[in-house]
Symmetry: C2
């Protein structure tokens, strides 16, 4: 399998062929650079000479048939909101943007199953679903930009995973164009299916390395009739864990999100986004809890009982309940802009781990210690200005930010592979919800066994023998 | 790929080798016939000469290494409660029983993740989980017999799918021994993971054709603090569908099961199991709704409001709310014994389909008409005594029973492939939760596209090139 590819320059004949299919083609360097050859954080830069904008599955099939025959590599792009370089054409690949495949194909209002093309923007899709009495079971900070095909391809987790679970459960069917142009129609819309291998699962989280996801059938959740938030201020990390156990007991089926962040994260959002802190006082840790239910009166009572419980066990120093719609939006925005605030404060090395909750705070202490020892952090003027964590409690998903004066360099050298090794040896995964992208495949060995990695590679070889789909990324780097 | 196999007779040397591993071996014909060479309904008969009972993953690995080298085919067996012949050694394969691998390996009481060996009986596992404040998110009628490894391998759906969703979402990790004996350690216990292809998904529903699942990591649901049932009597099928929509709106997050059955099913349970009908009067259709929540007072109020709604729209003729624990057990037992009652009344041809709800009743009418036209049903003494449906509303999963004087014969000839074609052409799946087993692979083409079936077969070829795992079944028959 070719792991590193010098892609043949796209010829006039190639462009002529693509145009002849009726596909929009962009090959203006400036346009490419501004929108398609750079990632959301400005960290990864690509060198695609051409971006294609098919409007139908058949066009995607024609494009891949052509590229496969000629060994032209392809990078699929959705909203280009990824932070791991997975959608960037590092080696001059052709960019296949799904932006113009953005139709809702079907919506069953009885069963709550939506069939949408990959280019539908997540927020638009959720607005559409809400009008029919449902909500899309995945939500994340990039909702205004990311697209459902990309959500599937990166196995997006997000803010309400705790309630609605994984894409592997909620995606019922996929339409995929295989690398050789064949259309794999697996766009099943019924909930139970035990007829053969569940092939579509392979494309969930494949980051465009096995084919192009062109449409998604997804089981929606009923739109909640009632929602409320509580923001808590706490003194130490162990109290967050205890609060989570009490939330599951007292809020039970209505808890839909349980987020935490630490003091410095709060300060960065206040400083760089000019938002008000959601609490009056400053705390070591903050927790944001959301409930979604079908009866506000019941949910209010449950939340009050839960907060009583927290106070009874002296777990919290401050709490605020938010029930006003505008205030809820503002509070969520504060949480959603956290990564953005970090990236404004410097060059953000972002890490996205699954880690048993008992090791999460330990990770922060270990990273700070490691960087201090390396002489990179702890004193003014040093390369690292901040090391922070925030995350999704209950999903065991933690984001670690190391803010530096530049991308890469001594900071990356000190951090990697050290931090991946640390996470792997503490039972974690090197990628929880951001994916492997172009960079992290090499660290997969720290959290996955050799037989598992071999099996992944054999699947890649089976479905993409010419290695034209997103070459040199993901498990190809493992 | 060899689709039909004449298995070499197991030699004394083979038995000597297996015994030498410390594995229990049964090769007494009577014992084999009584327990391992016949399925739950007495429909499928096998011809295994030997059954092996490993107690460790390493033993399973040694057995498969040996069998793979010698081309000895293997059928994996759990509780042997399947109804599609998937666990039966039709061609004299070696039976690999996971019965003695029945330890709980780990339980995290904070995150609610359980790691159990495949031979754990589902009910035992749920009892264990309940003691820790959790419940296993899958439940089915065979709970006293079926084992968690078999539940995973058949992608079991069951009674509370509506609430807890699919195995593809709740199984976090698997340990699998590949056909060549390599151990695929994918026993991940954290909830989010976006690092490479989710290989374990392939084994969920593979019915032992790709390897042996030896252990399962599963995300449990919190044990409900409150539970209640409502049984409804209704006049026609469309009212069930409307009641379901109202249940999702009014009961929202607490509805955990929504089952229906028709009049004749009710009569059969009363007649053959000697249970009292759950309602005083006789009705065309019955619905059983379960709620599971964290506050009984709230849940009672929600259920009352919902029943008011049903009465307001004149959807129901009778209703009974059950809150007494013993009465709840009895009511559930009535539902659980439905298949058993059918099988006592004659030879049960059981069909398990996913079908859009709007076509479910239509199916019953079509089948009755078809069998009448064939002169097989409708008058006393004809080969078919009963045709019934019951199922899981909201999962689009319907069970069709055709009760005949014998298995196979003219009834099967009249029904197949006709009924599979009918289901496929109405947007359904030929297998919803029972699996393909030894018989249904040939009908897969009615609900899955050729490219999808080709891809499934290529996966089988990739992982089991010598075709030793459950040969001639599942997608190999497609």
């Amino acid at each position: 399998m070719k792991d590193s590819v010098i892609n043949p320059p796209v010829s006039r004949a190639d462009i002529g062929y693509f145009s002849g299919l009726g596909v929009s083609v962009v090959h203006n360097e400036e346009q490419l650079e501004a929108k398609f050859n750079v990632d959301a954080l400005g960290k990864y830069h690509g060198s695609a000479q051409v971006a294609l904008f098919p409007t139908s599955t058949l066009q995607v099939s024609d494009i891949l048939t052509y590229c496969n025959q000629r060994g032209i590599s392809v990078v699929t792009q959705g909203g280009n909101s990824g932070v791991c370089g997975g959608a960037i054409a590092h080696q001059g690949e052709v960019i296949l943007s799904l932006r113009d495949m953005n139709k809702v194909r079907d919506m069953d209002v009885i069963s709550g199953v939506l069939v949408a093309e990959s280019g539908c923007v997540l927020e638009d899709l959720d607005n559409y679903a809400q009008k029919q009495g449902y909500t899309v079971p995945v939500d994340l900070g990039a909702r205004k930009k990311c697209m459902i095909g990309g959500n599937v391809s990166t196995n997006a987790g997000g803010l309400r995973y705790l309630r609605y679970g994984s894409m592997h459960g909620s995606v019922l069917g996929l339409e995929v164009v295989l690398p050789d142009g064949r259309i794999l129609d697996s766009l099943f819309t019924l909930k139970k299916d035990a007829s053969g291998y569940d092939i579509k699962q392979l494309f969930i989280g494949a980051e465009g390395t096995l084919g192009v996801v062109t449409a998604v059938a997804i089981s929606l959740a009923p739109k909640p009739r009632a929602s409320q938030l509580a923001v808590l201020g706490l003194q130490d990390f162990s109290k967050i864990q205890r609060a989570f156990v009490l939330a599951r007991q007292n809020l039970g089926e209505i808890v839909s999100a349980f987020e935490f962040w630490e003091k410095r994260c709060n300060e960065l959002v206040v400083e760089y986004e000019s938002y008000d802190s959601p609490l009056s006082n400053s705390h070591e840790f903050y927790v944001l809890i959301e409930t979604r239910g079908s009866c506000l009166r019941h949910d209010m009572e449950k939340l009050d009982t839960f907060l009583e419980c927290l106070r009874g066990e002296e777990l919290i120093d401050e709490s605020r309940v938010v029930r006003d719609a505008e205030d809820m939006d503002k509070t969520w925005l504060f949480r959603s802009q956290m990564a953005h605030a970090h990236s404004k404060s410097g060059h953000m090395h972002v890490y996205d781990f699954s880690l048993p909750s008992k090791h999460q705070y330990e990770l922060l202490v270990a990273v700070k210690g490691h960087l201090e020892q390396a002489g990179l952090y702890g004193k003014p003027g040093m390369p690292v200005s901040d090391v922070t964590i925030f995350g999704h409690v209950g999903d065991d998903n933690i984001h670690l930010q190391v803010i530096a004066q530049e991308f890469g360099g001594v900071v990356e050298e000190a951090m990697e592979p050290w931090v991946y090794e640390w996470v792997g040896s503490h039972g974690g995964s090197v990628a929880a919800e951001h994916g492997l992208g172009s960079h992290k495949g090499q660290f997969l060995k720290y959290s996955k066994s050799p037989v598992l990695i071999e099996t992944m590679k054999s699947i890649k070889q089976l479905l993409d023998p010419k290695n034209i789909m997103n070459p040199g990324k993901h498990v190809s780097r493992a």
